[in-house]
Amino acid sequence: MTAIEVLATGWLTTLQDRGRYGYGSLGVPAAGAIDQSLAALVNRLVGNPDDTVVIETTTGFEIQALGKLTLASSLGAEVFTLGPGERYRLASDGGRNFAYLAVRGGLEVEPVLGSRSQDTLTGTGPIPLRPGRVLRIGDDPGTPIHTDSAPVRPLPLVIRLWPGPHLDSFDDSAVAALIETPWCSTASFNRVAMRLDGPALVRRNALDIQSLGLIPGALQVPPDKQPVMMLRDHPVTGGYPVIAVVDDEDVHAVAQCQPGSPFRFVWADGSGR
């Protein structure tokens, strides 16, 4: 039985897995890794099941191995080992906002409502990671380790959009602006949502919206007319109009887009609206 000790945690360093579903009507977000495909990749490299809990970070964290460990990070995308007492630091600087670390065997943490994900909106989940915390590593899964590195696919720059329930309440210029102008991610993000930078999205009418359920990828437009894309810890329901919804498969691409990086939207249904 081996373990790691957390030495330092930067902003948004949390434990994440697939998330917890089935509690939306009680107000509990699903949480889960912002970039599920990257979390699955690092798990696969070390021979873990895809949905094993990983450490997700933005500005970084430092750990110390308290025994021999086998790990993979989303920066190097190859397997490496740490000996007892060795330290390791991971921060996202590889062209993406969120980075991941998987440890072979996983981290022994009690699930809460079926998941080891930390939800930063409601606080549901295991206790937050803090310096001094010791996390035990699970048993060796007995599976092969992938010794060759796996390329991390580049982020798509064209993002598929579906019409939102309140699209018709927006001006024609707003609907056109979604597709015709480039958009940028911003530094205004966390695990709950990300503000996007682009033209003001004006509404045709100012009718109040009745609170409705949301999903990651939903683009809400608050009164300041700048869209906000929901991420994994989004509030389960919201009262701002939803102009459009980013396709499930492209949400991580926007979330991983570093501030100022441009991308474009296209309608996923190929319509010319």
Binding site: L26, A30, G213, I215, G217, V236, D247
Partner: protein, 202 residues
């Protein structure tokens, strides 16, 4: 029932005037690809696993009938309350009622949980008498005591945790509204009926 609308690539949004009834009917479908059913103020959102045939899922929902008399009747939850809220006097003045009348109106009402949101376990209770309809406070409190019974915008609600809050505090309960160890963790689910009674001991 209105046609389910696509909500992104793996969710459907349905309009309904009593969403908790629709949500209950949808939940009986026991579809392993259905991840969650979220009740809104006038809609139900159904979330599915990725890469499913959303058109096929929509077709299954259109055929669903909602018989409000089938299945178990709604749960009736009785919550003991002490009417010690900081804003009880304010509410009385604003509504032109005596505090005793405000209390009576609350005790005589059978509320129904319409949907949850804001924080885990916070249920928006409908059925508040018109005489008690008030807008939210102009300045929210930075911290509301856990278990506070409050009213605003035609709803009543109990704060399951100590959080910021903009509603008028009229009472409190020591009954745990949210308990992560309990199944289900939320005491009040959409559709449940709620009555308040005076708390005798604490």
């Amino acid at each position: 029932m209105a046609t389910p609308q696509r909500f992104g690539s793996s969710a459907l949004l349905l309009e309904h005037d009593r969403p908790f009834l629709l949500a209950k009917a949808i939940s009986t479908l026991r579809d392993p690809e259905m991840l969650d059913v979220v009740v809104g103020a006038s809609t139900v959102l159904v979330r599915y696993a990725a890469a499913i045939d959303l058109e096929a899922k929509a077709a299954l929902l259109v055929g669903l009938s909602i018989d409000e008399h089938s299945g178990a009747p709604p749960l009736v939850i009785e919550i003991p309350v002490r009417f010690d809220g900081e804003d009880l006097g304010l509410v009385a003045t604003a509504t032109g009622l005596d505090p005793a009348d405000v209390i009576d109106l609350i005790l005589q009402t059978e509320f129904q949980a319409l949907f949850c949101g804001f924080v885990p376990g916070f249920a928006y209770l409908g059925g508040l008498p018109d005489a008690l309809h008030l807008p939210r406070r102009t300045t929210p409190r930075r911290s509301v005591p856990i278990g506070s019974l409050a009213i605003a915008s035609g709803y009543a609600g109990i704060y399951p945790q100590s959080t910021p809050g903009g509603w008028h505090l009229i009472g409190s309960t020591s009954m745990p509204i949210w308990d992560i160890e309990r199944r289900p963790p939320g005491l009040i689910e959409p559709g449940a009926l709620v009555r308040f009674r005076p708390e005798t001991t604490r």
